[in-house]
Symmetry: C2
Subunit: 303 residues, 2 copies
């Protein structure tokens, strides 16, 4: 079953302690859809400017990503410039140019409105709602957001969350959204806003998923080389929703497996700049790393 994702397609300029990259392909919808494409079909809704080169279109097409909803507008593509220090958990934004994204009105092609799996990447919650109103009868709506919308468009965000099944956000953002420092209590408050499932991203510390019946903890895959964390969260979400859509199973045991697949996908992305590590990734490598995370977390039952 195919997934619908709405989010950004961007040029990123990044510096880390290990190197720098200028105007490379990025954006939440790119990371998500490329990651999800290893599991199932994805249709992308986003906007680019007239500076967006054919080679990136060709790459996304080569991953089987549906681009009928990729609008092309006059002007420049969205640009983000950021820096990381040795603490790779924290991105320092140096510059954001919305460009064509400023006037973006998501309009779903007719064939996308039947989407059963929807991911609303981190964009204005009012746009997220507009998309939801165009989707007929989704099985799963997952959503990301950020501190900027939590503080600046809280009311719209709360209206969106009421229609979301699974919220995927950072640890600090859960605390901010709930206005509660204890994560377990904060998760309970945020689940009260609507999402039955809350997936808390903790960077190199992995993921906590709060569901109706239990909490699930998954570690990040320990890497000797973390090169650039940009896109890790969206790549995670792509693996998570991608696996769920490919298996058509939303039981808790399957949600847990999906979390681990998301973690695996993110672990590849951070090994290189941009989407470079995913360009030549083989599905067998994904399963290998899934098995390694199983070994990493395994310990004995009590007698």
């Amino acid at each position: 079953m195919s997934i619908l994702v709405i989010g950004s397609v961007a040029f990123d300029t990044i510096s880390t302690p290990f190197g720098a990259a200028d105007d490379v392909l990025g954006g939440s919808a790119c990371y998500f859809s490329t990651s999800a494409s290893f599991f199932t079909d994805v249709n992308l809704v986003a906007v680019v400017g007239d500076d967006f080169p054919q080679q990136h279109i060709d790459f996304l097409s080569s991953r089987g990503i549906g681009l009928e909803g990729l609008q092309r507008a006059e002007g420049q593509t969205f640009r983000w410039k950021g820096r990381y220090e040795y603490d790779l958990n924290e991105a320092h934004t140096l510059d954001t140019q919305l460009n064509v994204f400023e006037q973006f009105k998501p309009v779903l092609p007719e064939s996308y409105r039947q989407a059963e799996y929807v991911f609303l990447a981190n964009i204005d919650p009012e746009l997220q709602l507009e998309v939801l109103e165009q989707v007929k009868n989704p099985k799963l709506v997952a959503c990301d957001t950020m501190n900027f919308w939590i503080s600046g468009k809280r009311d719209a965000l709360i209206r969106t969350l009421a229609r979301v099944d699974t919220l995927v956000i950072n640890e600090a953002e859960v605390r901010q959204l709930a206005n509660e420092p204890n994560l377990v209590k904060a998760a309970s408050i945020v689940r009260g806003f609507g999402p039955k499932t809350l997936v808390v991203k903790r960077g190199e510390y992995g993921v906590l998923m709060f569901g109706a019946h239990s909490i699930f903890s998954a570690p990040a895959y320990p890497l000797e080389e973390v090169f650039d964390p940009t896109g890790a969260g969206d790549t995670f979400a792509g693996g998570f929703v991608g696996y769920l859509a490919s298996t058509r199973n939303l039981e808790e045991s399957n949600l847990r497996k999906a979390i681990v697949f998301g973690t695996v996908m993110a672990s590849f992305t951070v090994e290189r700049f941009s989407l470079d590590r995913l360009r030549n990734l083989e599905y067998q490598e994904i399963e290998d790393r899934y098995r390694r995370i199983k070994l990493l977390t395994d310990f004995g039952q009590l007698d």
Copy 2:
């Protein structure tokens, strides 16, 4: 088999966003030995002043902790004063009074020198070495340290580590000791100093254990009420070494179970000030929480 622990017995004065406590029982050796006493016998080597009340002696005795090595010196007991903000991962030290600890020379009673399991809590690495020289033929030497010794007594610490099997330290301290920001690389460097096993404490993010053949990741138990993190690390170490000594099994699968028992013990300690939660803890509660961590981390194999 009994454990030998050398460390501090202290009075702690603590404030957190949730309350405050004055001159309560604390110190690394107290937390460690009380935690380990749920699994096996413990002998404690430490020093207290003439202000140390009988009620604390009685409590430690009631846990079956051997106090033959608890020296009593003229003067005041070691005192630590600290504060936590909402980020409970970070302790802000307001005052440290070494008092009788300043002149402390650890002398092991004859019967302690046969100890097979030794824990060198976070004290001057020169004292840690003096203790090791008095122990005849230990099966397992585990050790803690801190940033103060890593920067101030690095040479002595490196000499101590050459004789240590298992180093149990905080994440930031691993990076500092190795002078390497990547944790996986840092762990490899630190294991090169001597310890076959490195246990990295990450506060609310759990524990990573780096061994000869694999890495093991255990989450912290998610708590709705984290009241006071003081002593969590030493309580963890007490459960870890305590379980190993009680089972007399140093295979990797058993080290993993021991890590989870340590995590369980720490999760109780942080629910109250001082050792208060451990005072009325039942062994059945420990096993219950172990099983909950099993459920927390469980996910399916690939077909």
